[in-house]
Amino acid sequence: MSAQLNSDQTLEAFRRDTRAWLEANCPPEMRQPVVDEYDICWGGRRAKFKNDAQRVWLQKMAERGWTVPEWPKQYGGGGLSKDEARVLREELAALKCRPPLTSFGISMLGPALLKYGNEKQKSEHIPKIVRGEIRWCQGYSEPGAGSDLASLKTRADDHGDHFVVNGSKIWTSYGDKADWIFCLVRTSFTGKKQEGISFVLFDMESAGVTTSPIRLISGYSPFTQTFFDNVKVPKENLLGELNKGWTIAKYLLTHERNMIGGMGTQRVTPLSQLAIKNIGLAGGRLAEPALRTDIARFEMDALAFALTMNRVTDEAKAGNETGAMSSMLKYYGTELNKRRAELTMSVAGSEGLKFGDSHSEEQLAAMWLRTKANSIEGGTSEIQLNIIAKNVLRLPGA
């Protein structure tokens, strides 16, 4: 009881200190809502800061390790407990602070490095992720290996002290802006296809690496196809054991899925508010009853999903098994996000159809088109359902 009381008091003290520090150190510009992609700070060697405030905010947060609050202090992380990290998130939200740094190093590679990396790899790469010095991209999918990722053909041949990598990756998010890549390569052509895959890290400035942007239906080009022509990769850049990369790949995918699934709960203006503005009320109800029903059903499912995210988080904190939930959250969250976008387009009417004007306040059509990728990237909805059928429901032959 008194231990509990003490820890509550400590946590409250942490909250006071955190708030005071954030108030003193978060520039006012960084407390404004994010309006365009330049407001998101990705870091990297060629980082383009929109303004000085963005650069300062990253630097100050990185100094405390608060770009990754729960990572260990020895590699530059914040070293916070789960409760302290929650308090920090709450205080950041209360002051409307923007995230100081967004990166695949944080959301995907970091957790895998911490779990599977050797000491040299961790002390080399993690601090640079924490400080936003190196921007990472993901080399997973290939033109011939999408949902069937394990059939990938990009090969790394053993040349003594180094590998030579040849092949091509596709859907490399920001491949043309990234400094390093974490990449799945084939190192064995015998036995089960999953057991001949290795996980390697290399510099995108290495000789033989080229990228080519892919223009999407939304008009944006966030992805590239990435080509490797006799790229030399030192053997020390192998993460984990040779031919055991598939285990790391799957571990990392659960983090990616949680990140994509979590987009279903992003705080955005409730659809009903936009609907009231555009459609109006009649007798206290939205004037289009059929659309009203669909909006209500969506908002109820979105609330139910948000509560489920909370429950899964609480279960994890209580030490209960939740690993199998990432496929469910990815599947349901992305399908919800698509429903939100479809309904938003319906509510917006002809206004939502405006396209290609980069100065328009809201690029609804681009957002709508972008959501279509949510249920494809990081494992399609159908793949997630396969995983649930096999790993959770234990159905035969799945």
Partner: protein, 376 residues
């Protein structure tokens, strides 16, 4: 408050799980139906349930209950749903107890709550007058001081109740929230006639006719003309606990279906190997997980008397009704021909899902109410 059950709640649930499976399983409901049992449930088993703390789950200890709150009631209800246990849990232990706790006089609480908690007294709510749930549509008249006349539909456990809680119009127009008053009525009083209805789910429901039934000020529950305050709380309690029961129905039907998919062979393979069935099952799994979250959150909100609890009740009842409908329909479909036979139990789950969904507002009612509470 976290969305995880405490150790005490887990123990309470496990005890309920064992008891329901042993003493009130589906086979008992089947037997009650086949025997055309005049009571429609076992009062002896209800006495045992009372000893387990079920009848008094919402009753504070000072009145002879266990005070385990709505989360506790929901844990029991989920097991009732899994076993289709025939009990007066909803009518007496949830609806009547909530009415008395929210609006009962000290004398009413003193005499009635311990008797309910002990499993000796059954009280039924006689409120609905329309075939579709329309709580403020109260046309039952109250004349003089006081005589009640009207007709009440879908009164759960009405034909075996020792007391009725009747909503009557004491002022205002039919349909108005104001002007409703709740009265305790003795079903043996002159002018009360009760007709049991035979229901698709083999559970107890009755029509209650009232003709100049005499009641007094001592019979009023809550404030005269302001009975809707108590009625709203009673209905939300019933809806939340029914949502938990529907969750249990959905879970059980789903698990039985998964077992069948793992064992039934066609075309020389287990039918569970077919992706068409796997994906439907996997989607249903996700929907049931959502219902688990909303039901627990809603029960917690009722225990804490949170101001937004009604919105959560709508979400729970709508989602649980819809998902239980899908789960039981998929169960029958995936079982194929055997699912259509009376001999096989799965049909009982579909029937109960239908009846529980209709009771106190289905997904359509609660989707509309959710939107209204959200300002559109």
């Amino acid at each position: 408050m976290t969305l995880v059950l405490t150790d005490d709640q887990l123990m309470f649930r496990d005890a309920a799980k064992r008891f329901a499976a042993e003493r009130a399983p589906v086979s008992q409901l089947r037997k009650l139906r086949d025997d055309v049992d005049p009571i429609g449930l076992s009062r002896d088993v209800w006495k045992e349930m009372a000893e387990m703390g079920w009848a008094g789950v919402l009753v504070p200890e000072e009145h002879g209950g266990v005070g385990f709150g709505f989360v506790g009631a929901g844990l029991i209800a989920a097991e009732i749903g899994r076993n289709l246990s025939a009990t007066p849990m909803l009518s007496s232990a949830v609806l009547a107890v909530t009415a008395l706790l929210r609006g009962g006089t000290p004398a009413q609480k003193e005499t009635l709550l311990p008797a309910i908690a002990g499993g000796d007294l059954l009280i039924a709510l006689a409120s609905d007058e329309c075939v579709r749930h329309t709580p403020y549509h109260v046309a039952t008249r109250c004349t003089g001081k006081y005589k009640l006349s009207g007709r009440k539909l879908h009164v759960l456990d009405g034909h075996i109740a020792d007391r009725l809680i009747v909503t009557a119009r004491t002022s205002g127009d039919i349909g108005a929230r104001d002007g409703i008053t709740l009265f305790l009525v003795d079903p043996k009083a002159s002018g009360v006639s009760i007709t049991r209805s035979s229901m698709v789910d083999s559970r107890n429901s009755a029509t209650v006719d009232l003709r100049d039934v005499s009641v007094t000020d001592a019979d009023v529950i809550g404030t005269f003309d302001k009975g809707a305050i108590v009625l709203d709380a009673v209905l939300d309690a019933g809806r939340a606990v029914l949502s938990a029961e529907l969750l249990g129905v959905a879970e059980e039907a789903f698990e039985r279906t998964l077992a069948y998919l793992r064992e039934r062979e066609q075309f020389g393979v287990k039918i569970g190997t077919f992706q068409a069935l796997q994906h439907r099952a996997a989607h249903l799994f996700c929907e049931i997980e959502l219902v688990r979250s909303v039901v627990l959150r809603t029960l917690q909100a009722l225990d804490a008397q949170e101001p937004t609890a009604s919105s959560l009740v709508c979400l729970s009842k709508a989602k649980a009704s819809e998902v239980a409908r899908i789960a039981t329909n998929e169960a029958v479909q995936m079982h194929g021909g055997i699912g259509m036979t009376d001999e096989f139990d799965i049909g009982f789950f579909m029937k109960r899902a239908r009846a529980a969904a209709e009771t106190f507002g289905d997904q359509y009612y609660h989707t509309d109410r959710f939107a209204q509470l959200s300002g559109y």
